[in-house]
């Protein structure tokens, strides 16, 4: 971005000279996108913020009253908020670790060469391709307490004596949603890692092998350092997505059982659309938005660091 664009000596074209027209041209190009985003996202964002400052609980007797920051105080001071936040963090971190770990293992395998690896590389992306609502419904069906394939399989293998209600206990249900999420997204992470792996210079491995390094040492001293930038990007990007997760929870568990899978986004949805407490919903949403902003800043800082490294 530091190179200077030379001004053409004679320009017969439009917008060829002068900073002002360059800016004008830029804004022209940006205008459709900007208009759309302002109308569809920014204006509602501001309106929602206003909701967070008023009493928008349709069941309250003080509907419409200006509340200042009282809503935030109420939300942040409520135990249910921290419980939901805790569940969200649990989901984010556990599914992240599993997804990244599994994705890395997949990538290491797919980077190798053995008969069938090409076909496998093509097939492995399939879980990611199917829509979230389909994979959610599919896993709900697989985990069904009476007719589910998982129960049938485990029982046939002799691993369980009785059919389990996989989505019937709070902690178990949360881990099952994590399983569904990891199944779908591990291939996505794997692709990132695979691309990074393929950039690593083969000769580095040869040198390490000659020096007598075994598989694990080669991984630790050659592979891993080269993966770190991609790893960081994937970790932050995926955490942001997982923090916002909603669809899987709506389809698989509706926040239950016993609120065991009620993550922040779902909590906001329930408070707005079930309890008619729009101000609580808006406030929770804004807290989520602030946290996402924090993540975004970290993501951008990482991106800048990566630029510097290159």
């Amino acid at each position: 971005m530091h190179r200077v664009v030379p001004q053409p000596a004679r320009g017969r074209g439009r917008g060829g000279e002068g900073d002002l027209s360059e800016q004008g041209f830029a804004f022209l190009l940006l205008s459709p996108a900007a208009l759309l985003i302002v109308v569809v996202v920014l204006v509602p964002l501001i309106i929602t913020f206003v909701y967070t400052l008023t009493d928008m609980n349709l069941l309250s007797d003080t509907k419409g009253r200006f509340m200042g920051l009282a809503n935030y105080g109420a939300v942040l001071g409520s135990s249910w908020f921290w419980e939901s936040l805790g569940r969200t963090l649990y989901f984010t971190f556990v599914s992240l670790i599993l997804e990244v770990g599994l994705g890395l293992l997949f990538a290491l395998l797919l980077a190798g060469s053995f008969p069938g690896v090409g076909a496998l590389r093509a097939l492995v992306i399939l879980p990611w391709a199917i829509p979230t609502n389909v994979s959610g419904a599919l896993w709900k069906w697989i985990l069904h307490p009476d007719y589910g394939a998982l129960n049938a399989l485990l029982s046939w293998l002799g691993l369980i004596k009785e059919y389990q209600a996989w989505l019937g206990q709070p902690w178990l249900a949360m881990n099952m949603v994590i399983l569904a999420d990891v199944w779908k997204m591990a291939p996505y992470s794997a692709i990132f890692f695979l691309a990074a792996l393929q950039f690593i210079n083969r000769s580095l491995y040869e040198a390490a092998r000659i020096d007598g390094a075994g598989v694990f040492r080669r991984f630790r001293y050659v592979t891993f350092p080269h993966l770190v930038p991609t790893l960081l990007v994937v970790v932050v990007m995926r955490s942001m997505e997982k923090f916002k997760a909603f669809d899987l929870f709506y389809i698989m568990t509706k926040g239950g059982p016993a609120n065991g899978t009620k993550v922040l986004t779902y909590d906001a949805y329930l408070r707005g659309f079930d309890n008619l407490d729009y101000s609580a919903a808006a406030t929770i949403s804004y807290v989520i938005a602030f946290l996402v902003l924090a993540f975004t800043i970290v993501y951008l800082r990482l991106g800048r660091q990566e630029d510097i490294h290159d």
Binding site: G13, P32, L36, V40, L123, L126, I130, F246, V292
Partner: protein, 289 residues
């Protein structure tokens, strides 16, 4: 432990190990799909039999016939319309998104203007916002404008999600094209717009295809806005149609899995045939070649 055999044997052993791992991965990835497909073909009686018979006794494409053929149950035929809606919405979003997004990302990549950095971050931030934050005021506005339950509404909503993404990724693609092409063209008297059309777009075509594919998949996947803003066959998309197979008291797993298979076919085909582009789109954001 037997003494280590020669390096050749070790390699072979390792290859066998890799194949075995590969098979495991294959099972992990494919087994749920296979079950999805088989369930869609099974009769209800077999689906709810305990213990499960595998493979189930009778299998038929009856449900698929109900969706696509004449004379099926109304709710099955309705699914066809949802498929149609999803296709139209996703296609429109892709095409419009690429045009608008390409223009904007060119600006970010090649032009200088005030607030550039800030606008870029703002763009990324809007992409990251969960839909729940903006859904309430959006509903009020869309309802007031009479735009509820219309495909065009979904197109605009989805564009707001995909354009930031397209801009973000294409910015890198455009940025990686050597400036000398543009400089030469400008000296020859081309306008900026012409350089965009004749130089940047063709050179970044793989990137455009890749982001287009990802934009299509994003629209195909979207659930929340469709749930809130559509209600009839005029605009209902596939995720909502599938959710409707869950009734007040009964859940029709046969139709859910059938719908699931149908809903998965376009993204699956895209993933298999355009995998190269998908990988490029996902990872090309950071590469400078």
């Amino acid at each position: 432990m037997t003494r280590a055999r020669g390096p050749g044997a070790r390699r072979r052993g390792f290859t066998v190990f890799q194949c075995a791992m590969g098979a495991l991965v294959l099972v992990f990835v494919m087994a749920p799909f296979v079950w999805l497909f088989i369930s869609s073909l099974s009769e209800r009686r077999d689906l709810i039999s305990v213990p499960l018979h595998f493979p189930p006794g009778r299998m038929s494409f009856a449900r698929y016939a109900a969706v696509f053929g004449p004379g099926g149950e109304e709710i099955a035929r309705a699914f066809k319309y949802a498929l149609f809606n999803s296709l139209i919405v996703a296609s429109l979003v892709t095409v419009i998104g690429l045009v608008v997004g390409a223009l904007a990302s060119y600006a970010f990549a090649r032009l200088r203007f005030a607030l550039k950095e800030k606008l870029l971050y703002a763009l990324l931030f809007t992409y990251m916002i969960p839909p729940i934050v903006i859904v309430l005021p959006l509903y009020v506005a869309i309802n007031a404008l009479g735009l509820l339950d219309k495909k065009v509404t979904l197109v605009f909503l989805y564009l707001s999600m995909t354009i930031p993404f397209i801009v973000w990724v294409m910015r890198n693609y455009f940025g990686s094209i050597s400036r000398s092409y543009e400089e030469a063209a400008l000296i020859d008297g081309c306008s900026r717009l012409q350089t965009l059309r004749y130089i940047y777009v063709p050179m970044a075509r793989p990137g455009l295809i890749a982001t287009g594919i990802l934009a299509f998949l994003l629209s195909w996947d979207e659930f929340f806005f469709s749930l809130i803003f559509t209600s009839s066959l005029a605009a209902k998309t596939i995720p909502v149609a599938i959710a409707e197979f869950t009734g007040k008291n009964t859940v029709d797993y046969g139709m859910i899995t059938t719908g699931g298979v149908i809903a998965s076919i376009p993204p699956l085909l895209i993933a298999i045939f355009f995998q190269k582009y998908i990988v490029m789109g996902m990872t090309g954001g950071g590469n400078k070649e």
